[in-house]
Symmetry: C2
Subunit: 392 residues, 2 copies
């Protein structure tokens, strides 16, 4: 910011006034911002109040008083808000620090860029726009790494090309972020036709559009599928932006949308992997929303939807009507894309949002994919670190 005097000017503080339990600060632009006194006290950045290396608050909630009004406030010669409290403790707040934490909506919107909520929804027009990146570049170049993760955040779908045609490549991508997400299928899993399969992925059958691992409360955030061999006839991959389809459902079939976001279904996975038994059950609505009504994730996987349903028989009938309409929308040609993975390609997708499927194939020739997951907590973490380093 130091190179931009215009921006510094915006951060110039000209006066500060006590207004009831708030401090009103006036910027050189003439605009005013209101900060609660208790928030200022709570966020004093002095070494007595905030630990510099742990970057954490030393003050406890006992140390602050929601009714405390400072004895003096002023803008000092360093362009800081300077507050003197009753016990003579002095707090200093830099103008830029305050600007970033303003309670006005424009400042709060800017903050969202750090939370990774920005996405661009898509339908079948995505067919010719799937972001494509080179495997080795992602390993070598932090800008490419950031771009990969940004594509995942924005579109929920990326195709990586020119990866070596052998297992172990997903570990390299995982390490570039931080670590792979482990499940009861391990850190990586091999999608091949297996005798006595414990998962539908290990058969030759069709896999309708679905979300992986709905039987986990902690559903893996991003899935990567690395195509090592794909000589079998058929087996094309399908992808659909579920958030885009949920918006259509909400608009056109409000009743079904309401049922799918409020009635729980159970998902389960029972079997043995590497000689260890597993028995997962997770109960959740098909469309998971938060306390603000925002869509968090879609939990839809017809194969492992459990026969137990926690509602009365009449509501259960409504659920089937809703699921059928949602399934039909997901599979509308205007909403999905399909392509056949080639050896050396890795498709990566947002597993809360982008449903994936596979057409049936003939097992006359070899087909081998390696799969792995990474969680969003670690992806967003890495993006913030890269953003600070790359000054994005």
């Amino acid at each position: 910011m130091s190179s931009n005097s215009g921006q510094i000017e915006n951060f110039k503080l000209v006066r500060a006034d006590i207004q009831d339990r708030f401090i009103s600060v006036t910027w050189s632009s003439g605009s005013k911002s209101l900060f609660p006194c208790v928030w200022l006290r709570d966020n004093c950045q002095s070494q007595d109040c905030f630990h510099p290396s742990t970057k954490s608050r030393l003050l406890t909630l006992d140390n602050i008083d929601t009714d405390e009004i400072p004895t003096n406030v002023k803008i000092n010669c360093n362009n800081e808000l300077e507050i003197v409290w009753k016990n003579n403790h002095v707090s200093l707040y830099k103008a830029e620090w305050l600007d970033k934490r303003r309670f006005e909506e424009d400042a709060r919107k800017k903050r969202l860029t750090w939370l990774g909520t920005d996405m661009e929804l898509w339908g079948s027009e995505m067919k010719n726009k799937v972001p494509v990146q080179q495997f080795q570049k992602i390993l070598d170049d932090d800008n490419e790494l950031y771009l990969w993760l940004r594509h995942l955040e924005k579109y929920g779908l990326v195709l990586i090309k020119d990866a070596p045609r052998e297992v172990g490549q997903l570990n390299k991508l995982g390490q570039r972020v931080f670590f792979l997400r482990k499940t009861h299928y391990g850190e990586t899993f091999q999608v091949k036709v297996k005798a006595d399969p414990n998962n539908a992925a290990y058969t030759t059958g069709i896999l309708n559009l679905h979300i992986d691992q709905c039987y986990y409360d902690y559903t893996p955030g991003v899935q990567m599928l690395h195509c090592i061999e794909n000589e079998a006839e058929g087996g094309e991959s399908e992808f659909c932006d579920g958030f885009h389809v949920v918006n259509q459902l909400k608009e056109r079939f409000a009743e079904y949308f309401n049922i799918l976001k409020s009635v729980d279904l159970d998902f389960m996975d029972i079997g043995t992997e590497n000689n260890r038994k597993f028995h997962k059950i997770h109960r959740c609505p098909t469309i998971c929303t938060n306390h603000k009504g925002e869509i968090l994730k879609i939990m839809f996987n017809n194969a492992i939807r459990d026969s137990h349903i926690d509602c009365d028989a009449e509501t259960a009938l409504k659920i089937y009507e809703s699921l059928k309409v949602f399934h039909k929308l997901l599979n509308d040609e205007r909403n999905k894309i399909s392509f056949k993975l080639k050896p050396g390609e890795i498709v990566c997708f947002h597993n809360f949002r982008v449903l994936h499927g596979r057409k049936a194939f003939k097992s006359n020739r070899n087909r081998h994919l390696e799969g792995a997951y990474i969680d969003w907590d670690e992806i967003h973490d890495k993006m913030r670190v890269l953003r600070s380093e790359l000054n994005n």
Copy 2:
């Protein structure tokens, strides 16, 4: 069940009738149960419809019709509901299988035992009732292992004694469940006084009652702290059942409860661990509830609560009032217990529910704890597997 003829009698089916889009089955007790026809079709257990080794549904939502009525229904001589569908496909449903999936409330309540939702809330009376188990027994005996996990589910707090006084014991406990939960602090972390600490735990200061890792969307489910050395003066551990306190808040301070479950706060952790930078941010309410209003987890950690707040200044003031009241209730002597961990003890607690704290200590003598986490997905999984094996 085969040894209990009384129970078999309860599962005896006597008749089946088509009623609009439902099948009404009559049990020998005289009671009736209603099942939607489409649910029966969807859950046909034949090998054409349900894959026996993957234990997953082969039928897709395209294959079922919410308006389809069977051409014939009857109870056959094997005590099964036998349905003939329009295309002559025959479905068979065992009486006991149907009984477990009845849509009546009593059957749905029984199902809850598999979901692990049963808990017993506590206050300071817990002081003399903390479940205590022996380390080696948990490693050796599946009944003790089940009991440990059941204690965690029910009380959210267990004290394990007589563990070797050296690092590495938590890995053994983790392996008994499945695997430890990794975070940016690693799979295990050493709680010691450190120079230039990156976390408040690594200082000698007080740690007020808090939840660990609120800056993760995927907050670790259970925390284990293994006391290896504890010769320092002070440093007693504190525990509080947060769900118990939330109920008090809801009852006595409904306005504050509503604010804490609806207004987001940000939590953050920025630093370097093992030469790797991390930058976590997570935004959520203090009291996280689901679409049914049930409390899922408490996200409360004053030290790493961020200075950014996503609301207007007036609401921010209300949040501080609410947080102070919640903090005061948490620290009410009637709501918390404290004890000093001894070398060889491992305290384990539900990290969504039981807040933990530490009194300040003098760094004149050695204090060393090893910490680790396990997620609930894996704990509930293991409990179900054990329950089936131990016939609990």
